[in-house]
């Protein structure tokens, strides 16, 4: 088997023929997002190393930004030293860049906006989906992934604060604990670190939102898609279904 861009027969990179699931381009880390992360958009690896880098950022010892990949990668020579106390004592603030949310209690909302009135083909794949976390102190952190330049930071991949002016056509919310918020923070940090690769890693925006929701709340909105919902329209259907028929 060759990749479809190959001029001659060659192995498919990052795939194992004995493991068919590794050929699934639409599953994030082979559907094991709690124990595995995909730091470069190609294949999953154990989550602990990435988690350490994120915890360093949350505790303030290591700055992590999507465009500063070197600082974001963990140092293999250093022993992992989780700093739970500093993680849970982060003061909520309004972010000016693309940064993960603090690990504090709050309300997580998964949102979609779709144009259900249109019969145009593009309306089926159009629209947007995003996660919005509001701490109990009232600071809101919206996150969405973009394949175009519509985000607030105009970059492909994760953007922050872009959806503040938007109203959703369907949403589902849940109050989450500090520990759950930590899972959310780790996931968002991992996606930020991937830069433009985040768009395809959990493609598209609805996949990004559905995986984040699943990792944080434990709820799989659409088991038939293994947590990866391939359009805002499908995600809206799953949200309405989970809400018992209401948007």
């Amino acid at each position: 088997m060759s990749p479809d861009w190959s001029a001659k027969v060659m192995p498919v990179p990052y795939a194992k023929m004995a493991d068919p699931e590794s050929l699934n381009l639409y599953a994030y880390v082979r559907n094991s997002p709690l124990s595995t992360v995909d730091s470069d958009g190609h294949m999953g690896s154990a989550a602990e190393a990435t988690a350490q880098a994120t915890e360093d950022w949350v505790s303030g010892s290591t700055p992590v930004r999507w465009d500063d990949d070197k600082k974001a990668k963990p140092d293999d020579d250093q022993e992992a030293q989780p700093n739970e106390e500093s993680i849970n004592s982060v003061t909520p603030r309004t972010s000016k860049g693309i940064e993960p949310p603090p690990a504090v209690p709050g309300i997580l909302v998964i949102n979609t906006v779709v144009d259900s009135s249109s019969s145009d083909p593009s309306s089926a794949v159009g629209g947007h989906a995003w996660l919005e976390f509001t701490t109990d102190d009232g600071v809101t952190y919206p996150y969405g992934t973009y394949g175009n330049d519509n985000g607030a930071q105009h970059v492909h991949g994760v953007n922050e604060d872009s959806e503040l002016p938007l109203s959703s056509t369907a949403n589902r919310s849940e109050h989450i604990s500090a520990d759950q918020a930590r899972h959310l923070s780790l996931y968002i940090a991992d996606m930020i670190r991937q830069g433009p690769g985040a768009w395809s890693a959990a493609w598209p925006c609805s996949g990004f939102a559905a995986v984040g929701w699943n990792l944080t709340t434990g709820e799989n909105l659409d088991p038939s898609y293994h947590g990866i919902l391939n359009s805002p329209t499908n995600l809206q259907g799953a949200i309405v279904n989970a809400n018992g028929g209401t948007n």
């Binding site: 906006v113 593009s122 794949v125 629209g127 992934t145 175009n148 985000g151």
Partner: protein
């Protein structure tokens, strides 16, 4: 009989594929609900006087394929189309300058009911 059916099926599939490809490449009209006008500014002293309109589509996975304008009476109607992202077409934003000389009193989106600027 079977051959005719086969040819018919292939024809239908090809036609459907062409229609979908056309919509995604040429783009399909964006509804007003899926559009954001970020700035509508009046420039009455420019020659000719214009109204500058900036905005974006809400979709994160599509790109603006075209922005067009046409006149209907004293109103200019603008239309934004969106299509799939491909190299060279990755922006979800648009900008258009509308000439508001010659008796134009309003600018609307898609039809005259959706007024976005009035003199």
């Amino acid at each position: 009989m079977v051959k005719s059916l086969l040819i018919g099926c292939v024809g239908v599939l090809l036609t459907a594929a062409c229609v979908v490809a056309f919509f995604f490449e040429y783009g399909s009209p964006v509804s007003k609900e899926m559009l954001r006008f970020t700035e509508v500014t009046d420039h009455p002293t420019s020659q000719p006087p214009i109204v500058r309109i900036d905005g974006s589509i809400i979709s994160s996975s599509l790109a603006v394929s075209s922005v067009s304008q046409r006149r209907r009476g004293n109103c200019v109607i603008i239309l934004v189309r969106q299509g799939i992202i491909r190299p060279g077409r990755e922006s979800g934003r648009f900008h258009i300058d509308v000439d508001v000389s010659n008796g134009i009193t309003a600018i609307a989106y898609r039809d005259t009911d959706n007024i976005i600027w009035r003199r």
